[in-house]
């Protein structure tokens, strides 16, 4: 997995729930590709059109709270989000994200200083984030989980591993 991620920041607040990430009314759509157009629909319906592959979502505490719907991390991965950096995550979302190939990082400080449009660099070797001349530590992510993200999630990761 590429240990360096650089991307433009899209900034969100605290307690971004999975109904915000993908509202109930769009869950019956057949594919994640159709669904991803409605990411953050109740909050910022323009966002899916603006997010470019590699961009970084920066949010506050408790990102991904609420419903266990796995479509939420799946559509963020499908939008090409490079990673999410938040103060903390809800636990079901946390598991679902890695299972769907979406990298989540925790930083206590970044959210309070990063603004939308900033460019943030993440180094997964040194476990540091850089924003202009400021640097912040992130909680290290175990190698297995990074490999899982690189493979695109738990199922492709296991298939790859079992094929060896």
């Amino acid at each position: 997995m590429n240990k360096l991620i650089q991307g433009k920041v899209w900034k969100l607040g605290d307690d971004i729930d999975t109904d915000i990430i993908i509202p109930t009314q769009f869950l019956a759509l057949k594919t994640v590709e159709e669904m991803k157009k409605f990411a953050f629909y109740p909050l910022r319906p323009d966002l899916p059109g603006l997010i470019k592959p590699g961009d970084i979502i920066v949010a506050g505490k408790n990102f991904g709270c609420g419903s266990s719907r796995e479509q939420a991390p799946a559509i963020l991965a499908a939008l090409g989000v490079g990673c999410v950096i938040a103060k903390s995550y809800a636990r079901i979302f946390y598991r679902n994200a890695f299972n769907n190939g979406l990298l989540l990082l925790e930083s206590a400080e970044l959210t309070d200083v990063a603004n939308e449009g900033d460019t943030v660099s993440v180094n997964l070797e040194t476990n540091r984030i850089s924003l202009e001349d400021q640097q912040f530590a992130i909680m290290p992510v175990p190698d297995d989980l990074l490999e899982m993200v690189a493979a695109g999630g738990l199922v492709p990761f296991m298939r790859k591993r079992n094929a060896k």
Partner: protein, 419 residues
């Protein structure tokens, strides 16, 4: 060092003498369940990506259609057909239209001391009967359905000691809204919320489910209450015999202990758009409502319906309010018919709907329009959760919803709720 009841259940499930917080274990599940909100994803993974297409034990797997029943669109009908066919082909337990998944699980399957994993965030409800219910997503569910196992981190436990007696017009629902307001929407993140203390023995099983069901709204992995005689009698009356009663040790280690005195508790509401945005009804001010909802896996059981019926009896709901009543299961519905509660609801002007998740998840019925306000006994009040992105959901007890439906404004039920 002693263990909490949650640690004991996880030790049993992982075949160990003891476990401690932070430890990662592989646990065997006693039951797993999934509903129509997401099962099609699990079926796709199972059919298209698994090499060994095996169900670990079909008797321990339950599929329940409850979120969009009856189906409201062709898309939903297709998703449900896929689920129905899969359940039939693999001889999996299957229910549709019989009630909300967690209520059916409690009525028909779950026993104290079990570990239950389900693809729904409110799986924590089973703590009300002393079982550890853990919500997961579709990938984890598929893996559990395939292998019967799951890796879990043993969580820390927070203890909530409950003392005293409820005032008239105040309910378990108000208590959990107050606790979530106090500790915040991630105040129990990754942890177990264990409810105990001297008052818990007086809580009915329905009340205990109300507390544990909303543990996830404080970020918890689960909620738990020690099962007692009341629970054992209920489980036995349903013909289930395999019961494990786990109690937390005297010297169990809790991350934090909280104390709540019920006598100090007032009816609560959670204001838009967060469950922890709580406020006593007495301080809410003048809030006009368009719709009321009584139902959900939190608050659609017979006791809540009795409270609502007591308030609505012989009265008419406000002409500018719609009131939806959705019993949590067919069994609850039949009991409500038997007790004459349904007559009261219909006579008051309420719409009584078949058991399902209804407007609590904003999928198939009762969704609200732009600028409208709903007062609900549902589980969540997130922005857009019940319909239009610019609508408002207030959470409250069945008593508060019923009183508010009469006046057309959010109303303190204590003036209306007389036994």
């Amino acid at each position: 060092m002693g263990m909490t009841m949650g640690e004991k259940i996880l030790a049993k499930a992982s075949g160990k003498e003891a476990v401690k917080p932070g430890e990662i274990i592989t646990a065997k599940v006693d039951l797993c369940m999934t509903n129509d909100a997401t099962t099609h994803i699990s079926i796709d993974i199972f059919e298209k990506q698994l090499k060994t297409k095996k169900i670990f034990d079909p008797k321990k797997v339950v599929f329940i259609i409850d979120h969009n029943i009856p189906s409201e669109s062709v898309k939903t009908a297709e998703v449900q057909k896929k689920m129905r066919d899969f359940a039939r082909n693999h001889q999996i337990n299957f229910y549709e239209g019989a009630g909300i998944c967690h209520q059916i699980m409690i009525e028909e399957f779950v026993s104290p001391g079990q570990l239950v994993v389900a693809a729904d965030s409110h799986t924590c409800s089973y703590g009300g009967i002393g079982a550890l219910g853990i919500g997961v997503g579709s990938t984890d569910f598929t893996s559990v359905m395939n292998t019967g196992e799951i890796w879990l981190m043993v969580p820390e436990t927070l203890k909530f000691n409950i003392h005293g007696e409820f005032q008239k017009g105040v309910y378990a629902r108000d208590l959990i809204l107050k606790i979530i307001k106090d500790i915040g929407a991630n105040g129990a993140n990754y942890k177990i919320m264990e409810f105990g203390g001297p008052a818990i023995k007086d809580f009915t099983i329905d009340d205990r489910i109300v507390l544990c069901n909303m543990a996830v709204e404080a970020g918890a992995k689960s909620g738990l209450i020690e099962a007692d005689e009341k629970v054992v009698d209920y489980i036995k009356s349903r013909g289930r015999r395999e019961i494990y009663l786990f109690k937390s040790d005297e010297d169990a280690v809790y991350e934090k202990i909280y104390d709540y005195d019920l006598a100090m508790l007032e009816p609560m509401v959670a204001k838009p758009h967060f469950v922890d945005n709580g406020c006593p009804v007495s301080e809410i001010g003048d809030v006009r409502i368009d719709q009321g909802f009584i139902g959900s896996c939190n608050n659609g059981r017979i006791e809540e319906l009795r409270v609502a019926a007591r308030i609505l009896k012989g009265r008419k709901i406000h002409p500018q309010v719609r009131l939806l009543v959705t019993p949590a299961s067919k069994e609850v519905y039949l009991q409500a018919i038997k007790e004459g509660l349904i007559d009261i609801f219909v006579a008051s002007g309420a719409m009584v709907l078949n058991p399902n998740c209804s407007v609590c998840w904003g999928g198939c019925q009762g969704v609200i329009g732009e600028g409208e306000t709903l007062i609900s006994t549902g589980t969540r009040n997130f922005k857009g959760r019940a319909g239009h992105a610019n609508s408002h959901v207030y959470l409250a007890s069945a008593a508060t919803v019923a009183a508010s439906a009469l006046t057309g404004r959010i109303t303190d039920p204590r003036e209306w709720d007389h036994e």
